[in-house]
Symmetry: C2
Subunit: 313 residues, 2 copies
């Protein structure tokens, strides 16, 4: 994945995505002791950056592949993204969703034209079902994070941020499957000036942190975190990029996630999902390290069920 | 208040305010059947458009007046705005607040350097106290809405929106004290092309609607609305402007306000306060009238207590 690949990818998907705003807050800067720039992918189509990778992946298929449709399994945001991207490109999308996915996310998939097939909430169940459907229909399976075309698409959020703020010292992303941080790390490597990429990860799903320590892909035994977008596993496409280009992964507790989310909601008036709050929580936790720096944070999404919030007591 | 007055006012306050983004949503457009542009003053400093009027009013004082400080009574957003505007301009601000104001708003006033004096939650109590303090300290009383300099300042949000979207057919504002809608009506009159201004008002505090009907300023007997920013009364400065330049005031129920607020939160990922939802509720209610039009909505603010929301059951 070269600098040119990333530029071409950005130009390819540009007509299908929003250029999201970059917002700042005097109060956040004061709190962090640094200049913080929020890349608001919660305002992206379908409410999350995933629209970028989904669009790129579908656009790279052959005409014949497009005719047979696309297929993924996703606990949420990639499901919506693939549905809308497919609809925009006149392709049929089948989405395998765990039966315990939030209702608000299931509804959105249907609204964006995706065809949901439910499965048990285990990695094995969804993989078996995906293989079965791909075999029967000839649909192209597109992984939510472990796919070079998806990774490049996700990296365009960071690319856009760097076009607007070329002098960022550091960029923070949440780490789930690793697509966003791998794409961002490539974008920062090619388009930043000495710009380092950091990950925020919940203690409760810290496979990426442990994988960097051990040098091989580790798995999560349980994923008991409020950050539902980060319950997934690293893959073999994004892990080497993370090893080569991510400076550090900072782990945060569930309380730190909720406090960070509450702060952004109350003070910045932005609806962000818990997974996005993980990146800001990581900045807050290590703020001494980033004093007086210029920091970018990818606000990955805003898909929460507002009837079921962690801080309305 | 001429076109030139408004331009000069805008240039005067520009260094002290945010140029807020204008956001759109495919889903909102589909729902309304029109093109809708949200002017996001919830991202304004202190979380509301009131920063504009407060800044303009203080900047118009003499050096001697500034030395003696400013004074207002406010149930919330103007209190925060005057506090921060005064702090930015190195002026002392005293804020008379009803004792039942939301805690989150009181805390913000203190944070912005305002000096709070509490009073009973009646119009008489706060007016008596304001007169007393003004007499004792020589502080200049600045009314939250019934003041020509405040009205002009508030109008600059609409002016900015029209600079970005010059071809709007209609602009919607919530109506409380009438400062925002009067300023917006002037801005649309001077800077729009055949652009009409509409107000949204709760049935539960419909003094402006009734005032337009009767031709004189009517008062609210009770103000039992969730839109806490709209519980105030029209004044003699803004009423004639509203009579001359506002096309229609559309009343909405409490349920319509909450539904509109919920829709904006869930679909646009914007934290808006109930008062802002009133303007969008008015659009939804009369959407047949505005089919295929280009509509601007001033999202007046985002100051809600996220620990006390109307839709988290």
């Amino acid at each position: 994945m070269t600098k040119e690949n990333l530029s071409t990818c950005y130009n390819r998907i540009k007509p299908y995505i929003h250029k999201t705003p970059v917002l700042t807050s005097r109060l956040v800067n004061k709190q962090v002791g640094a200049e913080v720039f929020f890349k608001c992918e919660n305002f992206q189509k379908t409410g999350a950056y995933k629209m970028r990778g989904a669009t790129n992946a579908i656009m790279q298929l052959t005409k014949e592949q497009k005719r047979k449709g696309v297929l993924t399994h996703s606990s949420g945001n990639f499901a919506q993204a693939l549905s809308l991207a497919a609809q925009s490109l006149n392709v049929k999308a089948t989405i395998i969703m765990p039966s315990n996915s939030p209702k608000v996310k299931k509804n959105a998939v249907v609204e964006y034209g995706g065809n949901i097939i439910e499965c048990k909430p285990t990695i094995e169940a969804r993989q078996t079902l995906a293989n079965k459907i791909a075999k029967e229909t000839g649909a192209s399976f597109i992984h939510p994070s472990n796919d070079p075309n998806v990774i490049m698409g996700q990296g365009t959020a960071c690319l856009e941020l760097l076009k607007e703020q070329p002098n960022l010292d550091s960029i923070f992303c949440p780490v789930g499957g690793g697509g966003l941080i791998a794409g961002s790390a490539l974008a920062a490597h090619y388009f930043g000036y000495n710009c380092h990429v950091y990950g925020g990860e919940p203690f409760e799903a810290d496979d990426a942190y442990r994988s960097l320590l051990s040098g091989k892909i580790e798995t999560n035994k349980s994923v008991n975190t409020i950050a539902d977008g980060l319950r997934t596993q690293l893959g073999h496409h994004n892990f080497p990029i993370i090893q080569n280009h991510v400076k550090q992964i900072i782990r945060v507790s569930e309380n730190e996630i909720i406090e960070a989310m509450c702060f952004i909601w109350q003070r910045m008036k932005l609806i962000i999902e818990p997974s996005s709050a993980v990146a800001f929580a990581a900045v807050l936790k290590e703020k001494e390290q980033f004093k007086d720096k210029k920091i970018g944070i990818i606000i990955s999404g805003g898909n929460v069920d507002i009837n079921n919030l962690p801080f309305n007591n």
